[in-house]
């Protein structure tokens, strides 16, 4: 540092000479402009604005000036430092933007790399299918009823108007538990759930009963000793076959699309009288029987698909279940869930449903 400058001559203090200050400022600005990355700029900042930078050193000399000269010199230095700091800030922003841009480019990844670290799970189409059916009925205000699979003989047969000598008892070859005198069966249909509902509730009753059922069928592409049914039951005042038709038409349209309806054919079920078979308009050819000039594979050219059975609940069943058959009428229907899924999805072999092959089940992962 210079000694006291008593005779007031700023020019005597070399670092404070205007040309010296200007030169320091210009050198700083040039270095800033020349800095190509943030590291260089950092060094420039140290070199030109740090404690040992020429402008900082010059600033310290201000004290050496006589008081009347300090103001002017201070202004001069301040302006130069301001210009340098401003340039530094601008350059910093530019270089930071450049740096960020470069970093993002460098961090580029191959987004097509596989990401399947955890394998995909899936629910079974029989489960989601049964839920879809349940939801259609729940939306109409129905409820979903369930019951045990090992069932009392009385509930599986007698209460449903299948007496001990009813031919239907052999038609549906039944699994009996040991000893048969215990009168327990693996339920042959979900109808005992309907009986349980009628026994435990008072009308109006609107329930669907999806569930697993058993018959002693050999296991092949279209038969299984274990399969799944959904049955429906409505008991109310003034229920008619027309309500049955309306309900099934609604069900068909909800499950297979607008315009898909049903037709009835006379049939026989002990549980119902009158009884009907339900056919569904083929949802693939929409009843035409032909598709693109060829016989429709789904309905085999018939335009209709056999879907299930239905009818007006036999008053004997109402009586056995404690419902006043003079006051109430009811309807019931039932269809195979497995079979419905088979034709809905074009599944050729029923056994695929029970093999547990994950390739089969995950294919249904998009099912709601």
């Amino acid at each position: 540092m210079s000694g006291p400058n008593t005779d007031y001559d700023p020019v005597e203090v070399t670092p404070l000479k205007p040309e010296e200050v200007e030169a320091s400022r210009d050198a700083a600005l040039a270095a800033i402009a020349a800095a190509t990355d943030l590291a260089e700029l950092k060094q420039v900042r140290i070199d030109h604005t740090g404690d040992r930078s020429p402008l900082a050193l010059a600033n310290r000399e201000i004290g050496a000036l006589p008081p009347q000269a300090r103001k002017e010199a201070g202004q001069r230095i301040g302006q130069a430092r301001g210009a340098v700091n401003q340039a530094l800030g601008r350059r910093q922003a530019v270089l930071e933007a450049e740096h960020e841009e470069r970093m993002l480019v460098e961090e580029t990844v191959d987004v097509t790399l596989p990401t399947d670290r955890i394998p995909t799970g899936a629910r079974h189409p029989l489960t989601t299918g049964a839920e879809l059916i349940a939801d259609i009925f729940v939306a109409m205000g129905w409820e979903v009823a369930e019951g045990p699979v090992i069932e009392a003989e009385w509930l599986n047969f007698d209460a449903l108007n299948l007496g001990p000598d009813h031919p239907a008892r052999t038609m549906q070859d039944t699994f009996w538990t040991e000893p048969p005198e215990n009168h327990l069966v693996l339920r042959t249909h979900t109808s005992p759930v309907q009986a349980r509902t009628m026994l435990s509730r008072t009308p109006p009753i609107y329930v669907v009963c999806p569930g697993r059922v058993f018959r002693t069928d050999e296991y092949d592409a279209t038969h299984s000793p274990v399969f799944h049914q959904v049955e429906g039951l409505a008991i109310d005042e003034g229920i008619t076959m027309a309500n049955l038709k309306g309900t099934l038409d609604h069900f068909a349209a909800a499950m297979f699309g607008e315009g898909i309806s049903t037709r009835f054919r006379p049939s026989y079920f002990p549980f119902t009288e009158p009884s009907a078979e339900v056919d569904l308009v083929c949802f693939v050819c929409r009843g035409a029987g032909v598709l693109d000039g060829a016989t429709c594979r789904t309905c085999r050219g018939e335009g209709w698909i056999e879907w299930g059975g239905c009818g007006v609940v036999n008053p004997r069943v109402l009586t056995a279940c404690g419902i006043d058959s003079e006051r109430y009428t009811g309807f019931a229907f039932g269809m195979g869930i497995d079979r419905t899924l088979m034709f809905r999805h074009g599944i050729e072999d029923l056994r695929e449903l029970f093999e547990g092959d994950i390739r089969f089940t995950t294919a249904f992962g998009t099912e709601l």
């Binding site: 799970g121 729940v138 409820e143 215990n182 009168h183 327990l184 109006p204 038709k245 309900t247 004997r316």
Partner: protein, 823 residues
Amino acid sequence: MKAPVSWIREYVDLPDGVTTEDLAARLTALGLKLEAIEKPGDQITGPLVVGRVLTMQPEPQKNGKTINWCTVDVGDANGTGEPQGIVCGAHNFAPGDHVVVILPGGILPGNFEISARKTYGHLSAGMICSARELGLGEDHDGIIVLPEGAGAPGDSAFAVLGLDDEVIEFEINPDRAYALSLRGVAREAALAYDAPYRDPADRPVPEPNADGHPVQIDDPAGCPVFVARTVRGFDPAATSPDWMVRRLTQAGMRPISLAVDVTNYVMLEIGRPIHGYDADKIAGPIRVRRAADGERLTTLDGVDRPLSTEDLVVTDDSGIIGLGGVMGGETTEMSSTTTSVLVEAAHWDATSMFRTGKRHKLTSEAGKRNERGVDPVVTQAAADRVVELLTTYGGGTADAGVTVVGTPPVATAIAMPDDLPARVSGIDISRETARQHLLAVGCELADDGYLPPPWRPDLTDPYDLVEEVVRVVGYDQVPSVLPREAAGRGLTREQRLRRRVGRLLAGAGCVEVISFPFIGDAALDALGLPADDVLRSTVKLANPLSSEDPSYTTTLLPGLLKAAARNLGRGATGVSLFETGTVAFPVDRGPAPIYGVDWRPSDDELAKLFEALPEQPLHLAVVLAGERERAGWWGAGREAGWSDAIGIVRRLGTELGVDVEVVSASRAPWHPGRCARVLVDGTELGHAGELHPKVCQEFGLPPRSAAVELDLDLLMRRARDVTPGPEFSTYPLAKEDVALVVDVAVTTAAVEAALREGAGELLESIRLFDLFTGDQVGDGRKSLAFALRFRAPDRTLTEEETTAARDAAVALAAERTGAVQRS
């Protein structure tokens, strides 16, 4: 039931232009469901004619075969009237025989065009046909030789062979046994077209008298009517007429002999099963009774059968000669030397027929009709028709004696409210319409309602009559009307929870499986279950499909383990499967009662019935085998292990708002040191962990495969219903990490519980973040590092408060578990 259209038309005058398809469709709409239409001549185009063989010259060929060079009279069918020269490879005919000839220009099934062609040195102008070439069967032993009088040379062979007669096969529901006859099918056809009908059973029959074979009915409930007629001097060598053979064949029955064919024919025609005995082998009067204990009978099929006291039998002085209505006995069987036939047309109680058929595992065309209910009124007509056909085609004479014992049961009138058809069907059906339709199906008006016709034993209730009315009106007339809106409560709690559990598991990468719930010792052994394991106490099936798996299952694991192995065997590198399903545990609370159906059982009675059922909880099982996380560009894969299984249990608990407790346990089929017992409030839900190495081996799964099996019902029962709104602080968090060294036998849960309790209310959460063993911590010791997070609801915690809470936590852990803090 196969019904030739020409046979139907014999009894009903169908309108002009009715096609077989139309007829089948109308009958289907009435309840006789179309199965198939057989059109035997569909694939043949003429000229197919009857020919008479004039000459045949055998000519041996170089290839070892001998061909016949024939001339055949085909009348004017060839346009010239000259004999037709045809080469034929068959040898089962002779000059003079009538054969079937297809002339050049004709087409046989398989689009096989016939033309005159040079072969074996002759110009062969046509072909003499075999049954197979005509699509009439597989018989290729030779050409068809027509019976005598089956047409003249040049006649079209279509009619002669029945090729122009279409056959409709119907599926007949059990309530419509009357439609198991042409009489019944034709009646429905008449109903369908409102066309004139002739009842083949409506025939004059001789008056019963006392000169017939004596018959006594001891059990009129089992056998209300027994008609016996006798034909003598019958020619046992007589053959069935060609038309009868054809109709039997069309109807799917095998022609056997005239006597047998006639009884079958009449059964098809009228619906009444007939039994024919060799009259010369019957000794003394016929009696019908129930069998006595210990009696036996060798039936026609050669089976010696012990009889039940419920079986109805036909006897003579020699003993039992037949199982009434089901099958005759060997001793009185008609044979190739039978010249006297006793014709039995009896009405049998349907229930007895059903039980006897079931007991003896006998199914027959006769039994099928008898057990479903046959018209009891037509016994005489049927017997008389049999006598007529036997004497016409077999010679001999009918005895003047006509035995008719008993009277047919009479139906009772059914009262049907006039508005019932409309009320049930939702179709506007007037009283007049209902009456008209019921009369059309054969009902008669009685004072107290409608009297059903005798061939309709199925009509017993007003609703049965409604079905008759509605099917005649047409099921297609039923309008489509939604019922009133029901006020449902939506899915039940369990139903919603089950969906949630399924979605959670699928989201965790598990694939749902549905397996058959049957199990046997092999699978239970493979699980390594001890002899007294509760899972070995199963509900056994009386008639299992396979003796390997004779019980309803007590565990879902074998099904899943097999499915896992199947997937790995098919190339999967890892598989995570789950199943929710019912298992069953036997209860010994006696048989389920059988109640009547005329009124509702009382609540107590129902409770007794429900109690008799086995316990049937819903289980959830998961199996994880092989790669749980895949290897990839991110690094190595990870095999499934015990922690994945327990992790799934914990996630389930979190999802359902249930505090599941995991304690170490030892239970087959799990690894004894890597098995967790899962508890909720002290109740066992099930187990999870790594499978025993032997179990993995048994099921062909990689080592360290893991599994879970829980009682899902129990878990769902404890699921939180209403979640209280959480309260949480927004003051700053204070973190403290502690590392504690304990004996390896001390569980993390125990240390964590002590820390939690010791830390007190300020502790917000605690989490194990590191675990290690080794030299640094010493033999038999392990280091557990926990991250503790503290926060107060109302203030920022001071360092002193946090430290004090941490120290209290460590102190309690030290006291409870011997934990020593690592410095």
